[in-house]
Structures are given as C-alpha cells and as structure tokens.
C-alpha cells in the first residue's frame, strides 16, 4: 500500500517535472523566436529609413567642402524670377573628342528676372539651360511656365546659364517657402524654409565664395 502511494507520488512529480520542462522550453523557444522577429524587423525598418537605400546612380565626384561659401565656388549669378517659357530642345556637342561622339540634348528656358540676388546681369531676362528634353523624365526636372524660382547659376562663355550643380541650384518658391530636390549637405536644411531667409543666407555665402583650400585656386 505504502509502496503504491510512493509510486503514485513519484509519478506525479515526474509528470509535474515534465510539465515544467515543457513550459520552460516553450518559453525559451518563444523568446528566441520573438527575438529573431524583433531583430529582423528592426533591421528592415532601420534599412528603409537609412540612406543606404538611396539609389545612387551618379558617376560624378563632388569636391571636399566645409561650408556653403565653398560649395558655391563656381556660382556666377543668383536670381529670383519667373519662368516665361520653355524653348525648343537642341543637340549640343560636348566639345570633347571622344572616339564615339557624345551629343547632349539641351532645353533652354527663358526666365524673367525679378531680383538679382548675387552677381551682375543687366538683362531683364536670362536663358537658363537644362539637360535633356521635355518628353522624357529629365534630371534635374525641367522648370514649368509660370514657376517662381530661385536659380543658383554658372555662366557659359556665351552669356547663358546652367544650374551651378544640377538639383542643388534649382529652388521653387511656393507660398513664401522654398522647395528643392537637393541632397547637398549645406543646402538640404533650407528645404521648406522661408524664402526671405534663404535668399539672405545664399547671398551671404555667394559673396564669400571661395574654393576649398585643398584645391588649386
């Protein structure tokens, strides 16, 4: 009788032990899987929020710069104005004697100048040159008729203008705020900021423009 009771008791503790073990392994397995799920999802979120995913297809190497004045080393003119019209696209020779000829498409736009923010331009309108044609997705995006713009420009030998550096020189004024597709580190913070403040800052930077000391002057 005593033996039977003892057997029963032992059996119960064994079952209890197994139950406890089972519970323990369930907890372990679930914590580990939770950890994996957590880690993987955090990894994905971190990835998608990070610049590691920006499609960088450029082959252009930009110089070392320490501030906006150095960034503007090649700026000749800054204007605020309005887009009057887009002109006809033409083919331009690059002037470089490559074995396979490389012609570029150029689409000019006429800009009515409201304010010269920096530099000298006696004319009331300027010719602003853009890469590509208006039928395909050009980059930088072409300006449209009636757009209010602030353009940071470099002069060509025949007195026309390009953006000093692609998207970085093209700013739209909308409801007193400036918009741009720039990702330039000294300009990116001005996006969606007050146009008046932006004009003040870029004028100051352009007036003090200089090449970074690591470059031949």
């Amino acid at each position: 009788m005593t033996f039977l009771v003892m057997m029963k008791a032992k059996l119960t503790t064994n079952i209890d032990k197994e139950r406890v073990n089972l519970r323990k392994s369930i907890i372990w397995i679930s914590s580990v899987s939770l950890a994996i799920v957590l880690g993987v999802s955090l990894g994905f979120v971190y990835n998608s929020n990070n610049d590691t995913h920006v499609e960088d297809n450029n082959t252009l190497t930009a110089p070392i710069t320490n501030n906006l004045s150095e960034e503007f080393w090649n700026v000749d003119l800054i204007v605020k104005g309005k887009v009057i019209q887009e002109e006809a696209t033409f083919q331009k020779d690059t002037g470089v004697d490559t074995k396979i000829p490389s012609k570029m498409e150029v689409t000019p736009a006429t800009i009515e100048v409201d304010e010269v923010i920096y530099g000298n331009e006696p004319n009331k309108t300027i010719t602003y040159l853009q890469h590509g044609n208006s039928n395909e997705t050009a980059k930088p995006k072409h300006v449209q008729k009636n757009d209010e713009v602030i353009l940071i420009l470099t002069r060509t030998t025949d007195g026309q203008y390009w953006s000093y550096n692609f998207d970085d020189g093209i700013w739209y004024v909308k409801n007193g705020k400036v918009k741009s597709n720039t990702s330039e580190k000294y300009l990116v913070d001005y996006k969606d900021k007050d146009a008046k403040d932006f004009i003040k800052e870029i004028r100051k930077a352009a007036k003090n423009k200089k090449k970074n000391e690591n470059y031949k002057q």
Partner: protein, 206 residues
C-alpha cells in the same frame, strides 16, 4: 539567474538577427551593365591618358590604375595609345565644362554601349536607362580642369574611382564598407581598393 540568462539570450539573438537582416538587405553596389572585354578571366581595360592634363597624366595615372592592378580584384588596366584604347581620359577646360553644364564636381565617367552613351550628363534619372543589362564597349572619363585637388593621393584615387564606374561599380552604399571603399560617393571613404571593392568586382564578373 535563469531569467537573466534568458534576457541576455533574447537581446543577443535580437542584435544578431538585426545585423544579419541589415547586411543582407543592402544589395550589391553594382550597375546592371558590364565591361565588354575580358582576357584570361580578367576584366581587361585598355586606357589612354593622352588627353589628361599634367595634373593627372604620368605618375598620377600610373598609380591610379595600379590601385586596381595590385588588388585582388580580377581586373587588369593597361596604359595604351589612343588608337588601341577602350577608355579615354580627358581633362576638360573650365569653359568647356561650364558650357556643358557639368556642375561643380571634379570628374565624371561615361559609358557607351555600341554607339549609345549610357547618359549624356553626370547626373541622370538612371544611367542604366540606355545601358541596362548591356555590355559597355567604350568609356570616357572627364576631369574638371577648374577643380583639381592639390593632393596627388586624391587625384590617383579619382582615376581609380572613375574607371571603377566604367566597369560597372556604383557608389558603395553599405555603411560598414563605406569607410575604406574607393567607390564611396565623392571619395569620402578610402583612397585604396578595399577588400569590399575586390569582392564587388569578383562577384560581378564571377
């Protein structure tokens, strides 16, 4: 005690899973186009520095191409005359660079597939537009004569970097590889071919 171990395990597993998913999600830093010429399993680049200014021609060019030649990347870049070259390097005058609207940069690279330039400007929606999955049979590298670094080391790295683009390397996007890769945007990483760069080339041309 057991609880502590369990917590520790959860944290380590989380971190491990994070790192693994993070590094595998970031894809390779290569274009879909490839260099057309291979010799004995090596990417074969015959380049002419003839039209480079004295800032780049000579030892700067030699040291620049040596960065790839001395690396474990399966690439051989040789200096040849312009009649035999498949990559030509040019130093473009300030006025020409400005007239072309090429911006404030130091250099850019342009591949050609057949007679089609992959892109006609240094910045484009997607340079693969015209060269996606194509073979690149000619390349041009342009350096800006009005924006030349004082530092020979940077000019050498610039030569190696731009030729890297011609053979199909994009800018290195993997954060852990950025600090020493020669293909980091604007040469913000290293000035030498890193083991990551070697791996990118050897994987692309495996």
């Amino acid at each position: 005690m057991k609880n502590k171990i369990q917590q520790l395990l959860v944290v380590t597993t989380s971190i491990l899973a994070f790192v693994v998913s993070f590094t595998t999600v970031v894809n390779a830093s290569t274009f879909s186009f490839s260099w057309a010429y291979k010799t004995n399993g090596l990417v074969d680049v015959k380049a002419s520095p003839e039209y480079l200014s004295s800032d780049y021609n000579g030892t700067v060019f030699d040291e620049g191409i040596d960065k790839w030649n001395a690396s474990k990347a399966n690439v051989i870049i040789s200096e040849v005359s312009r009649t035999a070259s498949k990559v030509d390097l040019y130093t473009v005058s300030r006025s020409q660079w400005n007239d072309n609207g090429w911006g404030s940069g130091e250099a850019w690279a342009q591949g050609f597939s057949g007679t089609t330039p992959c892109t006609t400007t240094p910045v484009f929606t997607n340079p693969e537009d015209k060269c996606a999955n194509s073979l690149i049979n000619y390349g041009a590298v342009y350096t800006n004569d009005s924006n030349v670094s004082f530092w020979k080391s940077r000019r050498e790295a610039l030569i190696a970097h731009e030729i890297g683009h011609i053979i199909g390397l994009k800018h290195t996007s993997l954060i852990s590889a950025k600090s020493d890769s020669i293909m980091t945007a604007n040469l913000e990483g290293g000035y030498d071919v890193s083991s990551y760069d070697e791996g990118e080339v050897n994987y692309k041309y495996r």
